[in-house]
């Protein structure tokens, strides 16, 4: 049963992702992106990563998409809202991209030797009560240093926005 849903959601994700890059209208591309994000969120739910799914919907489908829409609204003039389609210089990137795709596909299909981390997550989730709890536990103990670093990265990004966007009258 879950296998069928996996196939449905993956197909939706892939098709809409292709639509994102192929569509002519910039705004349409963004709407297709929403579909991609949502179906990816569904895949996360099926993998028991509920927190990640929620973040995917809240941050990507919510905040990032709004940001894109605002960026288009505020910057581009009307005639520039369509993306130029096929032209000769694109052939090389397309060929390389297709080649790379096939390499990755062959790689995944022939030697499925991913180890990753299996097992301990489910046990920990049942111990602490859920996805977000396990994440929080790790973020504030083992991974406290990356957590603090990320906060400084965000601060730097804010400083950057202020420095580059706000012009002082001097």
């Amino acid at each position: 049963m879950s296998y069928i849903f996996f196939i449905i959601f993956s197909l939706i994700a892939i098709v809409s992702a292709i639509r994102v890059v192929c569509t002519k209208q910039l705004v349409h591309a963004i709407l297709w992106l929403v579909v991609t994000f949502l179906s990816t969120a569904c895949l996360f739910v099926m993998l028991h990563a509920e927190f990640l799914a929620a973040v995917q919907v809240l941050v990507y489908t919510g905040a990032i998409i709004i940001l894109y829409v605002f960026a288009i609204m505020l910057t581009t003039p009307k005639e520039a809202k369509t993306i130029p389609q096929f032209y000769v210089r694109k052939i090389m990137p397309i060929v390389l991209g297709v080649l790379f795709f096939f390499q990755l596909a062959v790689m995944v299909l022939t030697r499925f030797d991913f180890i990753g981390k299996k097992g301990d997550l489910v046990a920990m989730m049942s111990k602490w009560g859920g996805n977000a709890e396990v994440l929080g536990k790790f973020l504030y103990t083992d991974y406290i240093l990356p957590f603090e670093l990320v906060s400084i990265i965000l601060l730097v990004a804010i400083i950057g926005a202020v420095v580059l966007a706000i012009r002082r009258s001097s």
């Binding site: 030797d113 991974y143 240093l145 730097v156 400083i159």
Partner: protein, 487 residues
């Protein structure tokens, strides 16, 4: 990890914490102080923080610990690299005090960004895990994007920031993709656990692993500006404010190399045939192509950008040599960067000195007659150029000899030959600066204003460039100790 462990680990992190606190305090200070307060005070404050962090770094020498659940290492190798990075940051701040005044963009955030960028590089130099490595890389990169576009009224500066930003994001994406593949195969992001996974029987083959490794090399190659991935660099370096260029031509490269030295010869030693081959080819084309581009430049800043690319190529020769003899190879890279960073910071410092109101001082023509206008500046520039070229008694000679010797010892004779030929070709553009300074008449007569800060920076760099050439013993000892800590 319990709380007591957390506190002891925090103590080992003191240099980084000091830099972060200095940055935060400088930010607040800049915000609350009235406009009339001189920004040079902020620069001195940042400098003080950097010196304090360097002192604590020195105190960590000789330790060998893994902190924060194996995310960072505190060892001799990290200390040496952190000192290089801190000294670079300090010199860049000294240079900037002059530059920002001349360019009339005195804003406190500049020093804050330099500090945070240095913090990111220090984390990279100590990282033994891909998570901490990547976060350090991003912190460094994001600060550098902003610093590139810091002169918001200058078109070239804006262009440089946008180019760096967009291409840098691609590089990061490729890097992270590669890391994810390696994680998939090895089951860990920790370098020592990756090493164990790769040394299992049959653990060092497979398409997934190799694809991940190649993507990792592409990502690093981009950040270090190795040749097929160097396209962004000359424009970015030319457009960015000169002290920032000096900073970027050392910091991110040195930090990336620190990670590469921790990862490739140690953790991925089982894959040495594969990455050794890739890096050997990259090194050869990097040195050659960058050299030929440098020959045709009319701007000294752009020439130094290309020369920086070729120097990364020389350092890559040392990395390739680690496939056979790890100690010699690693030592040669460390010595190479010790030498390269002093000469390079110094050369950019002289460009900053030439930068006057309405004249950027970046062209070869601007160096005409410098020998008459300011004999001292000309002498310093000559020392830096000779060191970059690799002529005794400067440090550059020893650095090049070591790298080539390592290559010969590792049976990469052809690589050493390519390196030597290119070193000879590079004489043209390095000595061209000297010719301009001494054999042409000055175009303008105005004397140069040596500010104390800039003078101090230039003297220190020139002193170390010569000192390393004449008394290299202590620096070899330094490199040797850090390599032993690594192996």
């Amino acid at each position: 990890m319990n709380t007591a462990q957390l506190w002891t680990d925090t103590l080992y992190l003191l240099p980084e914490i000091i830099i972060a606190l200095t940055g935060l305090l400088a930010l607040v200070w800049d915000f609350i102080s009235p406009e009339s307060v001189k920004k040079s005070r902020l620069a001195l404050f940042s400098l003080f923080g950097i010196m304090l962090a360097a002192v604590f770094c020195f105190m960590q020498a000789g330790l060998d610990k893994q902190i924060f659940s194996n995310l960072l290492a505190v060892d001799y190798f990290a200390v040496v690299y952190k000192i290089i990075l801190l000294v670079t940051a300090g010199m860049v701040i000294l240079m900037s005090m002059n530059y920002l005044k001349v360019q009339d963009t005195q804003r406190g955030e500049y020093y804050v960004l330099i500090l945070f960028s240095t913090l990111g590089m220090m984390v990279m130099a100590a990282a033994t895990n891909f998570i901490s490595m990547y976060l350090g890389l991003e912190l460094t990169a994001i600060s550098c994007y902003i610093l590139c576009g810091f002169m918001i009224k200058d078109k070239a500066s804006n262009e440089s920031a946008i180019k760096y930003f967009i291409l840098g994001l691609f590089a990061s994406a490729i890097l992270v993709y590669g890391i994810s593949l390696i994680y998939g195969v090895c089951g860990s992001l920790n370098f020592s656990q990756i090493q164990q996974a790769l040394s299992r029987p049959g653990g060092n083959s497979g398409v997934v692993l190799l694809t991940g490794m190649v993507m990792l090399i592409v990502g690093f190659g981009f950040k270090m500006a190795v040749v097929p991935f160097h396209m962004w660099m000359p424009d970015v370096y030319e457009g960015a404010p000169t002290p920032v260029t000096a900073f970027m031509s050392i910091g991110p490269k040195v930090a990336c190399f620190a990670v590469a030295l921790r990862f490739f010869p140690i953790a991925a030693y089982a894959l040495r045939v594969q990455w050794g081959f890739i890096f050997a080819i990259l090194a050869a084309i990097t040195i050659t192509l960058a050299n030929f581009h440098a020959l045709r430049q009319e701007s000294v800043k752009r020439m130094l950008a290309y020369s920086g690319i070729s120097h990364v190529g020389y350092a890559l020769i040392g990395l390739v040599a680690t496939t056979v003899d790890r100690q010699i190879g690693l030592m040669s890279v460390i010595v190479y960067f010790l030498v390269y960073f002093t000469a390079n910071v110094g050369a950019f410092g002289v460009i900053v000195l030439l930068c006057q109101k309405g004249r950027m001082g970046e062209k070869f023509d601007d160096f005409k007659g410098l020998g008459k206008r300011s004999p001292f500046a000309a002498m310093l520039m000559t020392i830096f150029m000779l060191s970059l070229l690799g002529i005794p008694p400067t440090g550059g000679f020893l650095a090049k000899v070591w790298v080539f010797a390592a290559a010969v010892k590792a049976d990469y004779m052809w690589l050493a030959v390519i390196g030597v030929i290119n070193a000879i070709i590079s004489a043209y553009y390095y000595l061209r600066v000297t010719v301009m300074m001494y054999m042409h008449d000055p175009e303008e007569q105005s004397s140069l204003s040596f500010t104390p800060a800039l003078a101090v920076a230039l003297y220190i760099m020139a002193f170390f460039t010569l000192y390393m050439g004449v008394f290299p013993g202590s620096f070899f000892e330094l490199a040797k100790k850090s390599v032993i800590a690594l192996l």
